[in-house]
Symmetry: C2
Subunit: 320 residues, 2 copies
């Protein structure tokens, strides 16, 4: 799986960091998912090999402009590139209002249907073509959500030991069970495929979180997650200075949570523009990294725009 | 006067060209005006010395997304940079609907008041702090306008010959007339200041046009204009191929008009992304330039993103 960052700044863009946007796809596969779409997301896409025609769904974490103002332009450009396949947009209901009002006021007609899914009313997981997508409610100034992607369609192997123990003879029946078909044996027994299939490996699970001041809300989802992508807008010192109003997380708060939840890979993003990339006497992204490292001994990565992180089948995450 | 291009592509951005946006200011002066605000305009501003706090007014030519989808993000960033001064937005009434609907859906609260001016109902010129701003209706798929900027506040000199001919003695009265005050003479005559003041020079006039398939609609305004900024989306050959549907101008059509109207300086912009900056066997911006040059012998310039053009007091326009 690839996680590609299209923007890593919070609130306003900087010369090097755009507003929030993350792309997720199975490595080597064209279909992809977009989580958040700040202004300028379509501009960043021009520097990747992601195509608007292969975009499966857009998941918006919350209604703040730095997470969704790129959506009308992206939808318009998909029309200009000739897209015809339906596009799913999952997000707060107000995202639908925003898009529909924009279409009406600016006479934007799309060449494809849009299926809006209200994340607050999403019942169970959404079947996202290679992924199950689930949402977790967070804590922010407005309703905000994390999207949890779990890969689906993994091949499974037959549990031969159990087949033999239950006296199910090898033959065409084994093939049927392997393909996921249930079978009635000549002796009348009904055999369920899922009882005789073993996971080849644990499906990979990636959490991409929206703005959130309470990382512990992700505790349940984090249990089996391989990667957590979470905002770390400030260091603790700045978070204390700005007060609780903005309702963001500090690097310390996220790193402590990731350590307690034993998450193997943590990617921080959504940095306040007051943190510069490097140098000078002012605040830097390095300050955020240092604070997080003191609390978390796992694989910590700080995202830059256009970074691509690859999660292999063994659950190892590396920057490509 | 400086004319700074923030975007020069039509429809969709390219790696080198953003969507429509032009900044206008008096040289050496902080206040500035923005004409159109495609997505990513605020990103381009980061590479200029234009400040959102000094922005006097935004003029939107028409409602198409590539001319206005950057507006919500720009307004939000002005709030984050602490702006308190009122901002004027001149444009079609639907721009107000777009902004207000976006504010409501995305909970965008601004730190300053916005004064919307419906360009279709704008009575006479708008007093724009150093400029008179007028609008001219164009021809496009939706109502589209050109904005005409004429500098104001030029110093004027006394018409001494006329003062003497009318037997108005030099003294304090001459000073009052110079300052623009009307005067009653001891002999009872009422003297109007404007009758005794001469223009030091012709005020500079710049036309910045929206999308338009009929350049001749600008004939009246063009009479005394120093600069025309106009779209040249295609060459004639491509314009014929795409047909009349998009309702844009070819380079030839604009250049022929500028030649007939005897406009001294013509800047072309809003190029279809099919025209590359250079090289290869495909279409290039050079094709648009070549076509325009064959019809127009004046000062022809093709805009690139972040180009700054300086119009001096004598009406000479150069690329800085």
């Amino acid at each position: 799986m690839d996680i590609i960052f299209l923007g890593t700044s919070s609130g306003t863009p900087t010369k090097t960091r755009n507003l929030s946007g993350v792309a997720l796809r199975k490595a080597g596969s064209k279909p992809w998912f977009l989580i958040d779409c700040g202004e300028g997301t379509q501009h960043r896409l021009l520097h990747t090999n992601l195509s608007l025609n292969s975009l499966q769904a857009v998941c918006i974490t919350h209604v703040h402009g730095d997470h969704c103002y790129g959506l009308p332009g992206l939808l318009a450009s998909a029309t200009m590139s000739g897209r015809s396949a339906a596009l799913t947009i999952i997000g707060p209901a107000a995202i639908r209002e925003f898009i529909e009002a924009t279409q009406k006021a600016t006479q934007l007609r799309l060449s494809y249907p849009v299926n809006f899914v209200d994340v607050a009313g999403m019942s169970g997981v959404f079947d996202g073509d290679g992924f199950d997508i689930d949402a977790v409610a967070l804590s922010h100034r407005v309703p905000s959500f994390a999207y949890v992607f779990v890969e689906t369609g993994l091949s499974r192997k037959l549990d031969v030991t159990r087949l033999k123990a239950d006296a199910i003879e090898s033959g065409p029946v084994w093939g049927q069970l392997q393909r996921g078909e249930d079978v009635i044996l000549p002796d009348g027994r009904v055999i369920c495929s899922r009882d005789y299939l073993l996971e080849v490996r644990k499906p990979r699970k990636v959490i991409i979180s929206g703005d959130n001041d309470t990382p512990a809300l992700l505790a349940e989802s984090a249990k089996s997650a391989h990667v957590l992508v979470h905002e770390a807008t400030y260091t603790e010192a700045v978070a204390e200075k700005v007060g609780a109003g903005p309702r963001h997380s500090s690097a310390k708060a996220v790193a402590q949570f990731a350590a307690e939840a034993a998450i193997a890979n943590l990617i921080l993003t959504h940095f306040s523009p007051r943190y510069k990339d490097s140098g000078g006497s002012g605040l830097t992204i390095g300050d955020i990294e240092l604070e997080a490292r003191t609390c978390y001994a796992g694989n910590l990565l700080l995202a830059n725009d256009l970074d691509m992180f690859h999660l292999d089948r063994a659950g190892t995450l590396i920057r490509r």
